[in-house]
Each structure stands twice: as structure tokens, then as C-alpha cells.
Subunit: 218 residues, 2 copies
DNA sequence: ATTAATTTTTAAGTATGCTTAAATTTTTTA
DNA sequence: TAAAAAATTTAAGCATACTTAAAAATTAAT
């Protein structure tokens, strides 16, 4: 199957499981940077191949076969990200860019070798679960709130959850973004309040405002 | 530039530097598994892009730009082979297959990271030189004759050079082939004669019959 | 509940990278 | 060196994966 097809089923899979809950052609098109017409066209072609259930004007849905393919590509993507993250000093952005290409040119054999080398990890550096070779995926969430972080350890921001303007200003000031790597200094103030320091700035926050994921003992 | 184009210039480069000394469209076509017509067609297109010098019925020649591109792809191929060889227990055949795909989806940045990780090696597991980031290539030959091999060390056969029928029969019997990994046991018999044991069979040979390349201390 | 806005679909067209078949040129060999 | 063989080129055509433009359907808004 072609790169275009793999990216198409992956886009449906990701839209279905993550952020956007709409898998109509237009959303997939936007995600892939192609025209709506091209997306409709592809959807029809993939219906013939039994990868997608297509009905006019309806959401696109992966068949069992299509889901398997998507999981296989996602597995390779997340394995590459994990592997490159471990092996090389590269930004997560660059790593993502490489994985986006490598995922389509990786045999199941090589994927298994990478997985074994890493000790068959269940999550990638972003905290996203890595499907196993059979397409099974761990659904448990390993992310924790920033307040639960251990002093001095390094984490990756997997989500920013807050309705506190002050908090977002703090993030902006420190360039704390989704997928940023941060080292946490903190101090309990009271029951549900913690003072967090990142860089030279600090803020007092209550729990459950920020989702982070543990990455490295460093 | 597309995968098809990268493979095309690579094929010209390899044909020009290795085995076959003919870079007419038919030879390139055979190497790539495409029709002669397709090769002629591509050659004309690449001439427009200043990658290939094309003259009807003549050999195809890479321009400076085309050579640069070929060296860049060859670099990535050989770096991937070196890297996968070091990291994973896979057959050289499988490793070659993976590298053939990965070479086209690897940024210069990642190639440099791999190169640095390996200590900027000058040769890959086959003994082929790895061009550096500027496309410079080491021409010295690190291969040695089998008679020069060190007892108990492991080598890769980079070439079989002999007009001795007995030697080739010996190789056939022991499945010694180009790119085979062998562990050498040997014993000097006289001035130019050495008894080599590979597996349970042995043969008495004079020097300069077999080119091998050092691979591993193992 | 219409109208307006948006989205989806259809239709026609394009670039890439191939194919096969036939014409042309080169190379071999007898 | 002339005929036969082989290779190259030209020509026509195809599949993939897109594009833009216009028609049709859906969704949103007043």
C-alpha cells in the first residue's frame, strides 16, 4: 500500500481517537494538506479496498482492515520517535518529522527489532501508547498532573489544562508548550497548592491544571 | 526530488563505479527493474534538471549536481547499513533491504547524527566507503587477502579473487560467498602458503587469492 | 422554515513514473 | 561488409494522487 493510503488511514485513526472527533473528508483533507475533492476521491478508492466504510456525506470510518493498517503505521511512528529520542540529541519536533517519513519505509521485522531494543515500551516520548505487533494498544493514561511531579526530574508537557489566565501567561513567558521538555522545581504551599519553578520564573498553582508525562530520570 | 530520481542517479553512480562499466539506459533499466523506454524517458527529464548529461545513444553521465545527489543517497544508504548492523541482529541481506528504503527518507541532519553516533566511520560493513557530508569519499582499499587475516577474528568476504578451481569448490562447499561473514582459522605452511579453515573444512592456499574486509573483533 | 454559508461531491484536467509496441539506430557476427 | 541481433528511442496509453471549478447536499443562522 502506498504512502498516501497509509497517511489517509492514519489521519482517520488519529482524528477519531484524538482531538477532532470529525472524520468527514474535509477534516482529513485539512490534516493531510490536500483538497476536499482529493479526500473524497481517496475515500471511495479505499472503500473498494475494504479499508474505509464510505457513505456519501457521512463520516469516514475505518474497517477492521483499515484499523489494522493504521495501527501498524502508528506503531512504527511511535517506535521511531521513541528510538530516535533515546539514541540522538534531537528536538522532539525534528524527531517527529523524521518518524513521519520513516514510518512508511519500515518492515515489520525492523519495527520488532526496534521495539525489542527499547524493551517493548508501551508509551512513546509524548505519552502516546505504542500498539504492539498485533495492533493491541494500552489505554491507561500514564500522564500525571504537574503538581504530582518529582522535584528535579524532567518531564514532557503532554497537555495544558487550565482556565487560569495567570497560568497561561506563565507558560507563554517561559515558552512552555505542548510537548516541551521541562525540569520541575517545586514546593508545597498548602493542601492543594504547589509552587512550581521552571527556569527563573515560578507560579503558585492548584492541582489538576496541567497534564505532564514522565520521561527521564535525568 | 523523488525516490525514482534518487534511485536513478544512484544506479548510474554505482554502475559507473562498480561492476558494470556501462551506464547506457538499458543497464540502468535492468538494475532498477524498469523498461528501457522508462529509463530513456527519465534520462531526458533529468537532463532538463541538470542531473544527467544525455545524448542520444550515448552513455548516461552524471553532472556535478547529479553526482552530489548520488553521493548523498549512497552516504545515507551506507550509514543506515552500518547503523543497523551495529544495533540489531539482522542478516546483511535484510539490512540492505531496509537501507534501500530508509535512504530516501532521511534528512541530512539525521544522517549526521547517525554518522556521529558511529564515530564517523569511513567504511560500511561491506567495506564500501561512506561519503562524508560534503560528498567526499575515501578511496583507499581496506580489504586484505585472506592469508593476512588474524586467527579467530571475524571477517566479511568483500570479493572472491582466484583462478584456482579447487578454491572455488572449497568456497561452494562451505557456502562462502560475497558478503559472507566468516571466522578464520589458519596456519602458515610455508612462505606464500597458508592453510585456512572455515567451518570443518580447510584448504591450502597461496596469498592474494581472496579479498576480505575486517569487520569485528568478535 | 427559509436563506445563507459551508461542505461534499462530481467532473475535467495535470504531473509523475511507469507500460507495451513499433520505429530507428547501433552493435555484433558471420 | 552486409545481414542479423540487440539496444535505444519514439509514441501512445495507463494508474496514482493530486488540482481547480462548478453542482449538489448538508448545516447553520436569522
Amino acid at each position: 500500500m502506498s504512502v498516501a493510503i497509509e497517511n489517509f488511514v492514519k489521519a482517520i485513526y488519529n482524528n477519531d481517537n484524538h482531538d477532532i472527533k470529525d472524520t468527514k473528508p474535509g477534516n482529513i483533507a485539512k490534516k493531510l494538506g490536500i483538497s476536499n475533492a482529493a479526500a473524497t476521491d481517496m475515500a471511495k478508492k479505499l472503500a473498494v479496498k475494504d479499508l474505509v466504510n464510505y457513505e456519501k456525506y457521512q463520516k469516514l470510518q475505518l474497517t477492521e482492515k483499515g484499523t489494522k493498517m493504521a495501527l501498524n503505521v502508528v506503531r512504527k511512528h511511535r517506535l521511531w520517535e521513541s528510538f530516535l529520542f533515546k539514541m540522538f540529541d534531537m528536538s522532539l519536533h525534528d524527531i517527529h518529522r523524521e518518524a513521519e517519513l520513516l514510518e512508511h519505509q519500515t518492515s515489520d521485522l525492523l519495527a520488532d527489532k526496534i521495539s525489542a531494543y527499547l524493551g517493548h515500551p508501551k508509551f512513546d516520548p509524548h505519552g502516546d501508547p505504542i500498539p504492539n505487533a498485533d495492533g493491541e494498544i494500552t489505554t491507561e493514561d500514564t500522564s500525571i498532573s504537574l503538581a504530582e511531579a518529582t522535584e528535579g526530574k524532567t518531564y514532557i508537557i503532554s497537555r495544558l489544562l487550565s482556565d487560569d489566565k495567570e497560568f497561561f501567561d506563565f507558560c507563554a513567558q517561559n515558552e512552555i508548550k505542548y510537548r516541551n521538555i521541562v525540569t520541575v522545581s517545586k514546593q508545597f504551599i498548602s493542601n492543594k497548592m504547589t509552587q512550581i519553578s521552571i527556569g527563573s520564573n515560578s507560579i503558585v498553582l492548584n492541582e489538576d491544571f496541567t497534564k505532564i508525562i514522565y520521561v527521564d530520570e535525568n
